[in-house]
Amino acid sequence: MEQFIGFMFLRICIVLVLLALAIILFDIFKKGSATINWEFLSAMPRKGMTEGGIFPAIIGTFFVTIITALLSIPLGMGCAIYLNEYAKKGKLTRLIRMSIRNLSGVPSIVYGLFGVVLFVQMFQLDTSILSAGLTLGLMTLPWTITASEEALKNVPQSYRDGSLALGATKWQSIRTNVLPHAIPGMLTGAILGLSRAAGETAPILFTGAAFYLPFLPKSFSDQFMALPYHLYIMSTQHHAIEKVRPIAYGTALVLIVLIFCMNLVAIITRYKLRKVRME
Amino acid sequence: MERHLDEELSKLKTNLLKMATLVEEAIHKSIDALKKRDKDLANKVIEEDQRIDELEIEIEEEIIELLALFQPMAIDLRFITTGMHINAELERIADLTVNISQRVLEVADQPLLKPLIDIPKLASQAKTMVHNSIDSFVKRDEDMAKKVILSDNESNKLRTLIIKELINDYMVKDGTTAPRAVPLLLVARDLERICDHASAIAEDVIYMIQAKMVKHHRERLQKE
């Protein structure tokens, strides 16, 4: 009986969560799918964003994410490799690791403000794709590092020992025998981090995202439109909120699908690499 | 730590003691039959040998099982292999008592050649040696085992004495005594062989205790 009550409680929990998710997705799909067509995806916004499409926002998000990836993936993996393979296991390492974990809990707006000071002002990159991408990159780093370290930890010590015992140097052993096993996990973590970054508004708010730009950025030092920020404007800042509501729903749907796709890529990457390894 | 093997080992020990008791009885009875010229008793010894043979096989199978199932090491291994040897030695001793009993059947209907003095002496020596060798195994008493081995010399001397006397004093002087003298001669030889088997048991006991082979190297024993 007690067991039955326990099961029921747990079942209700999961049903509630799924229900909430389903309602949100259903609502967005229902209202958003009406707006979406080829023009919506490929045209510039017109007439104070009350008409036209969201093409520049999609492109902007795409390029910002590339910058984010270029910063956070190599840097994150490098940090993780150092921390897990080379750093001595002492108090300092523990402190560093703890700080990294804490950083991933810092509110994203704080990263945004930090980005303004560091990239926009100090490095004089102005408000641009570069500044925004780097800011998002910084924000994603703790995630990437933590996920990569977990992936490295999951490689059994015996694999390292195997090559060290054959007279391999530490780096030879990591490169040929540890990374091949860790990379799927590392990439998955990195892509999940990126998908989170792609959906962020606050860090790009002050560092590069533009309110309304009916043209595409010409270089990485231009301002840009981004999907999450566009959605934010459409649903709270626009002068004719009621009128643009369908556009807001359309944008939300595109953003969700985009992030879903990225996660899918992460899952497929992991699956494929793992399969290659096992063969 | 109490082991399952310990239980099996004490079972083996009990069986070996049972075997030893039967064999000691057989020695006693066969000599008794000779002294009393008792054909019935001699026949009984011959009959009872079958029981000893069966027990020997039973113990041997038990030992093979122990070796196969437990793969014993060190003292356990030495105990079990020693048990195996003792088992075989005891069975041979039993066969010798059958031989003696057959000699009794041959001489029982004839008058005694001479009063038996030295043969009962050798017989009691054989009995003591067998008893002590088994005792040294049970008590793991190295000194007792050594004494058994060293006393084997006396039995050799006694046998030689008996045989010489039978040949020189009877058979050489009067050839017709031969049918009565030869069985006694053979009994003396068999009794001495029992003593040899007893000292073989004692040698195994020393191996069990010390893991030192004194077999064919009695000098190793003397040195100490």
Binding site: K88, K89, G90, P156, S158, Y159, R160, D161, G162, S163, L164, A165, L166, G167, A168, T169, Q172, T176, N177, P180, H181, R277, M278, E279 | M1, R3, L5, Q71, P72, M73, A74, I75, D76, L77, R78, Q210, A211
Partner: protein, 268 residues
Amino acid sequence: MNVLLKDEELKSTEFTENNIKVCVEDFNFYYDTVQALKEINLKIRENTVVGIIGPSGCGKSTFLRCFNRMNDTISNIRYEGNIAIDGNNIFDKDLDVVDLRKNVGMVFQKSNPFPKSIFENVAYGLKINGIKDKGFITERVEKSLKDSALWEEVKDRLHKSAFALSGGQQQRLCIARALAIEPEVLLLDEPASALDPIATAKIEELIHELKKKYTIVIVTHNMQQAARVSDYTAFFMLGELIEFDVTNKIFTNPSNKITEDYVTGRFG
């Protein structure tokens, strides 16, 4: 010195100076503040197999991992005393640990082939040592696989993944991998503990063959295995070397009461 020692020679623990391969003197080992090995003194003779037995946590694996300094990968370790291979102290400051490990091969408890083909696994040690001559590599791979009694089973699928091999084959592949760089000493850390009896028997046969060319130290949980494969046996307990003697002696008549209790299964 590729000559098998005669049984008579094996019976003696009196070593002459020129047949000692490894010499351990007053060796202490600490993990942080915990002393894992206490005052170990031991000599290992060339072309023999030394079995190391003892209850879990007795320090036998730690000891094995000292010979190729695999313990160096753990932080906060400390050692005192000497281990010399061919008279050279392996803790010498001028000694490159990478060179040491080329000379002292190791096979681990869990077979750990690399995520590569069978061929690449065996060639790995050669390639990281900068050998590029393809003919030489091919030749050496074949030789190592033959020496580890795996050649016949894998010669038709050298370029298939090593993961496709069975557990026992994987472990022999790991041995082949170690042999490829031609070490002089071979360390085996419970090499058959995860294998079925037939695969185990193959490994044991292999060890018997290998001692013609190598000096072998094997850690094993399985006493019967130590009895079967080793010429000398060392019994460790609580970080101490309790008894070291000819294998036959250890298993029929150990000198020490603790050794006897252990080999007869009275504790542990």
